[in-house]
Symmetry: C2
Subunit: 822 residues, 2 copies
């Protein structure tokens, strides 16, 4: 008790008024005898932790030196650039302190998600108090020197970011772009039955679309198989410059909204720390008791009624404990407390005096001992080892990730005796393999889709599992399952965010989506790629499983969906990110798709984008040929070319990447072979798009000599590409033969409703490719003028047929590769 008593907690009026003549006075705060479950000693201890964390946060924002205020605060102690946001920090620290109490009492396995932006000083402070910071960063010990280093590095060149980031112990959620906290939290809870995720949701980020829909993630959280998420809506009322919507509707309406989302809200509100501590202790106890009750009931086998999960509404002042008024303007509890409450602390003596008062109001002398260590009463509040929120390995998922048990993809391959003699829906073939991947990894692998699993032909997965569904099940609903291993929800944001949370905490998964609409999560992809990039540079972070996309229903087959469903530009977005992180694959048939995906599911710490069609499509390569071709990533298809002596350059190269472009390229090759038997023709197929980049730009890049060997140094290359054509130019502009590279791809052209009409609209059709060859090979211009005119006629004929019959010319639609040996 002596120790506890020494933690103090009341800041007396005298203490505050000692600021003397300063015109700006930080508010006194007093640890009163508040009624509630916390005994005085525990209340003091929790409050002390909170004050310590707040002190350390203010220190990070302002101080370059003099961390313990053992000398009067001088201008040179203060950073020249004041960065980081204090406004949200006291709320984050409050939740952390109370989560710790619960963890100690219940031996909970818990992690923490800080949703509000730029609140980094809070979790940094808590991790340092818990000792984790010093364990992971030996140059930042848990003493005065370490405190100084902790302060100095914050938002400083060469230091750590102002929001939670890969550098932050215990964080698996980046605090930069807003809106994804709850999705990450739910993703972490999936398949982690004993985990509790304390997820602080900012009332600013709550306005975003992704966050607004992600409350519905409770319809996909099994109380049997999954852990729990405790959302804490941090209602501090302000964004940068505006109040928040949720803080400016009546509380009854807010609670109604939360109930409508399926939660049972518990309100904690106030500005008196003692009362809030008591209320928060009650709220956390109530919520965790309720979670335990939900889980034990469900796990006892009484299935059926979706539980109403608890959540907490925490209404406290923005910048709580900062100076109430600065230069005559209210600050604490207003938008002015959002970022740095005292902006001129280095240059303005009055501001600096108030800053010192403010820091001293936390009574650091009671919180840190002579050496600068947290006093033992604070250290005693730290949970043990991995139970610390800052040290739970779940938040460093790479430490936990296990290899998937993958069935041999070769035994799922289709038989290909001759190229193009049979057809398969490539994604359906993949689906059979993914079915068995799902079955073999029953707590470690999930598939996400925005209502497009079956549309993208992966429905074989449903032979071994259902679609996860915790809501009601209607009479005619099929394949729904309380513990299903497919999550379908018509929100690309939810699919992406849940999968990210699942991967970041050490598991594996696939996201299948229509190609055009994957742009909906461009920004989320960007942020995840940045996390992967930045975390790779953090020594204690381990690589996590790759984020695997399967994009189908792609640009070339939007038969009636039309123009709105045509957009292959996600590849352009992806290729802007760090080459060490991103991979793009365009397998041309079923076996190459299998081989590619096997590779992707074995990989770590990448974003793998695989684009593959779902329509019946010629099988080009046998299993063994597919394995070799995919390993190479790009190669000559000798069987498709003509007179192509590897030792000498051909007259022309037909190159292709993507399933539809490959089909049209081979159909063009067949015409050329039949009509120009002397032509020296090479066909090159590219599966791994990164092979096109220079080897010093991307680890998969071909060397210039390898590239020249495939594409020649000076012969015309007609490249039929799945996406926007300039992407190929962007990847190859440094190559020797770039000036002879002519790319056909998708351009925004409007709509059509048959496959061949679509490729004709974009000059990617077989006839146009033959015309391109004739136009680009000088010796053909006169010699093949007749063939060229035939091609022109064939195009008009095909167009006219389509317009009349509503489907493609049978000779085109039913075309197959003319295997001479058949």
């Amino acid at each position: 008790m002596t120790q506890m008593a020494s933690l103090g907690g009341d800041t007396s009026a005298d203490n505050v008024e000692s600021g003397g003549g300063a015109t700006i006075a930080p508010r006194a705060y007093r640890l009163a005898e508040a009624p509630g479950p916390l005994e005085r000693a525990e209340l003091e201890a929790i409050d002390a932790w909170w004050r310590a964390a707040n002190y350390l946060a203010v220190g990070q924002i302002y101080l370059m030196s003099n961390p313990l205020l053992r000398e009067p605060l001088e201008p040179e102690h203060i950073k020249p650039r004041l960065l980081g946001h204090f406004g949200t920090v006291p709320g984050l620290n409050l939740v952390w302190a109370h989560a710790n109490r619960a963890i100690r009492q219940r031996d909970s396995n818990a992690v923490f998600v800080a949703g509000p932006g730029h609140g980094g000083p809070g979790p940094n402070a808590c991790a340092w108090l818990e000792g984790t910071y010093s364990e992971l960063y030996s140059h930042i010990p848990r003493d005065a020197d370490g405190m100084g280093a902790l302060f100095a590095q914050f938002s400083f060149p060469g230091g750590v970011p102002s929001h939670c980031a890969p550098e932050t112990p215990g964080s698996f959620h980046e605090g930069g772009e807003l809106g994804y906290s709850l999705l990450h939290a739910f993703g972490a809870a999936l398949d982690n039955p004993d985990l509790t995720v304390f997820c602080v949701v900012g009332d600013g980020e709550a306005e975003t679309g992704p966050l607004a829909t992600s409350w519905h993630a409770n319809k996909f959280l099994s109380p049997v198989r999954d852990g729990a998420v405790l959302p804490i809506l941090a209602l501090n009322q302000y964004k940068i410059a505006n109040p928040t919507i949720l803080a400016r509707i009546p509380e009854s309406e807010l609670l109604t909204l939360m109930r409508g989302y399926g939660y049972e809200p518990i309100v904690v509100a106030g500005s008196d720390p003692a009362n809030v501590h008591q209320e928060m202790a009650i709220a956390v106890d109530t919520a965790l008791d309720r979670i335990a009750e939900i889980q034990s009931t469900a796990r006892a086998g009484t299935d059926g009624v979706r539980p109403s999960w608890p959540m907490i509404v925490l209404r406290t002042p923005k910048g709580w404990t900062c100076p109430p008024v600065v230069d005559g303007d209210p600050v604490e509890g207003t938008f002015r407390a959002h970022q740095v409450p005292l902006a001129a602390a280095r240059t303005n003596d009055g501001h600096r005096a108030v800053l010192e008062q403010w820091l001293r109001s936390y009574q650091p002398e009671q919180l840190f001992d002579e050496s600068g260590r947290p006093v033992s009463a604070l250290r005693e509040l730290v949970p043990d080892g991995d139970r610390r929120l800052s040290a739970n390995p779940i938040a460093n998922g790479g430490m936990l990730v296990r290899d998937l048990r993958l069935p041999d993809w070769r035994s799922y391959g289709v038989e290909v005796r001759e190229p193009g003699a049979t057809q398969h829906e490539a994604t359906r073939v993949l689906g059979a393999w993914l079915r068995d991947v799902t079955a073999r990894n029953a707590d470690n692998f999930l598939t996400f889709a925005p209502d497009e699993l079956a549309s993208n032909r992966l429905q074989d997965i449903l032979q071994v599992t259902g679609r996860n569904w915790q809501a009601e099940i209607g009479e005619f609903d099929v394949d729904l399952d309380r513990t299903g291993r497919v999550i379908e929800v018509l929100s690309e944001h939810m699919c992406q965010g849940l999968l990210e949370g699942y991967l970041l905490t050490g598991r594996h998964g696939v996201f299948t989506c229509y190609e055009a609409f994957i742009h909906i999560i461009d920004a989320m992809f960007n942020q995840h790629a940045k996390w992967l990039d930045a975390s790779a540079a953090v020594p204690w972070r381990q690589p996590i499983a790759s984020l695997n996309y399967l994009l189908s229903s792609h640009v070339w087959r939007q038969d009636h969906n039309g123009f709105t469903h045509q957009d292959p530009g996600f590849l352009d977005v992806v290729l802007n990110k760090k080459p060490s992180i991103v991979r793009v694959y365009l397998p041309p048939d079923a076996n190459t798709l299998l081989s590619t995906y096997d590779h992707c599911l074995r990989s770590r710490h990448y974003v793998n984008v695989v684009v593959a069609g779902k329509q019946p499509q010629a099988d080009w390569l046998s299993v063994s040929d597919a394995a070799v071709h995919c390993a190479r990533g790009a190669g000559i298809w000798g069987w498709a070319g003509q007179n192509d002596d590897p030792g000498t350059a051909p007259d022309v190269v037909l190159a292709c990447a993507g399933d539809v472009p490959t089909l049209e390229t081979l159909a063009a090759a067949a015409i050329l072979r039949a009509r120009l038997p002397e032509l020296r023709l090479r066909v090159v197929n590219v599966v791994d798009l990164m092979r096109l980049q220079p080897s010093d730009e991307h680890p998969h890049g071909l060397s210039d000599s390898e590239f020249d060997t495939l594409f020649t140094r000076d012969r015309p290359v007609i490249f039929a590409f799945h996406g926007y054509p300039w992407l190929i130019h962007r990847l190859t502009y440094q190559r020797t033969n770039h000036s002879e590279l002519h790319v056909r791809g998708y351009k925004e052209k409007g709509t059509t409703t048959t496959p061949f009409d679509m490729v004709m609209l974009n000059d990617l059709d077989r006839y146009h490719l033959v015309m391109d060859v004739i136009d680009r090979v000088p010796t053909l211009r006169e010699k093949a003028a007749g063939l060229r005119q035939e091609m022109v006629d064939a195009r008009w004929n095909a167009r006219a047929w389509t317009r009349e019959h509503g489907e493609d010319l049978p000779a085109v639609a039913n075309w197959t590769w003319p295997n001479l040996s058949l």
Copy 2:
């Protein structure tokens, strides 16, 4: 009454059983004597309209000919490819029919938004019934021939898309990507005080993030200044393959959710058409009465309490009125009715027989006269002229758009006597002009921002208006206003969607956003660009105002926000769209920003992306010079170069695009001029990025000779670019001098917290640009080796200073252009 009686409405059991031996029978439906406000005659008439629209929708999906079933249905009457979605159509048609009743009764000014995907057959049918289709498309008259053409063109090569699109009369909302219906509806209602928007929200799209947050748009709809939105949640329970979340929570929870969003829900539920008609009539009457009451109360001056706006929950079967069972599987009311209920109608005699039964169950002989025209009783239900939902000019916003009254931007310009002698925050200068644009166009211009208006330095707008805010106003809230002309909400989706709705209905606006986070609406931008492109080809559509972005807080100045806030890739996304639609500007200073924005606000039917910094930045060009430079789009800055005779090629070209790259380029030029006085140096600045593209690729593109005049045919060009460097290569790879073009730009590199450290990290700094010049100009390699080493040293020195002091070297931070004449 005789006419009314002839409309029938009961489908007798006899009628249905005449299907004979078919194993699949469409359900009979009977217009019973249902209690409610509709008299029998009105009930019959509305039901007849609904049946007619449903008949016409089924016809569009299936029939190539024999539209009135005047001969038995044969395989050749049926399209070979069955496309379009029936599932949502009966709900859309029901709402349309009841909206018409209200419009007639109240002489309402109303428009219709069809949120559910691929429901195009419904609105197409209604527009044809209303005569608008035939007025706009003379080859589709309102008779048997026209009906045949209406059917044949649907989702057919050369025809119309399967969802609502620019081709659809009365639609200003595309039905492709889901989630934006409510935002478009609210955007349309802003500043349209007498407008009612009937907005059908699909329960599928309701799962998306943008839709989930857009219910909160009611916090920005003034009952005084704006019109009303009546959301109708079409709860038909199914998506492609799954039930919807909102249909699988208890109704009480759904209503609680809607109340939490601030609405008063009215439920209409059932599968008996007569009862649903009666309930729907009550619901629409109640809702519109309530809206009138809300508006009249508010407009009488009793400000204060945000109203609880009505909305309707419409729970009816998916594919209502389609065959209940097909091949033994339940279809009507299940996910199987989502798309085409009878997939084999052309080839399977049983399916075809049921299709015929299904079509005849609507009793077309009662609905269409001998000539195929809708009978007079149906025509009498059509509102007059522009009151028709299919003809309201508000849905063809280009017909209504008025030029903005723009103050002369020149009088807002900053004085520039010598380049670089003064500094301004460019966006703050623009803000003063936008303030007066706002004031002068008080019902026609809005600014949208995700809580970033002031952060992006446009707060001068708040001198003449407040931020629109209909929720509560707290004691410390500032600048909130019930009729404010700025809308700030922390959802880029809401900003984008509301602005789109506002523009599509004939008004003007600006969206200002942090550059990195504009990726959040990549997909929405894509869809809007496609709308602009497709609508430009629809003769009766008029050009609308451009969508204007102002991206600030850009990649080069993310001092503490760091890596997560760095992404200039929106430009790459934008440049994938049709060149006739997209424009990208990178003004280097305040006056060029003003000139650029004046141009943007005068333009029509573009997407204008303007990127400009908010930090103090040198003023380079006077108002008159800025006007000339912006008109050119790219030009030589003679004052910045040295020995640059326009008639001959210089030794090297320093090119730049973007404000920070321009600063570094000029600083490099200053070093080169001071140290290498004999060097022939040209400085080129690019404002209009499209100027770099070939003139046959983009209307703004420079001809090759113009390009060569600026950038030479063979001299090294060091190009300092705002964005990812390969974008410049993509735009210029066809240019003569491309092989000598060396681009410095942003690459994903991690984070730093000072401006100069950031450019150094990306080799875009002045010292590195000088090194690039020395490396690329052969005559300098030896001669300037000493200078090169100085540059290397300067970089290390600057880096070390930053690491120690936390801010940039004063010599760098305070550098100004050395005007020799000063």
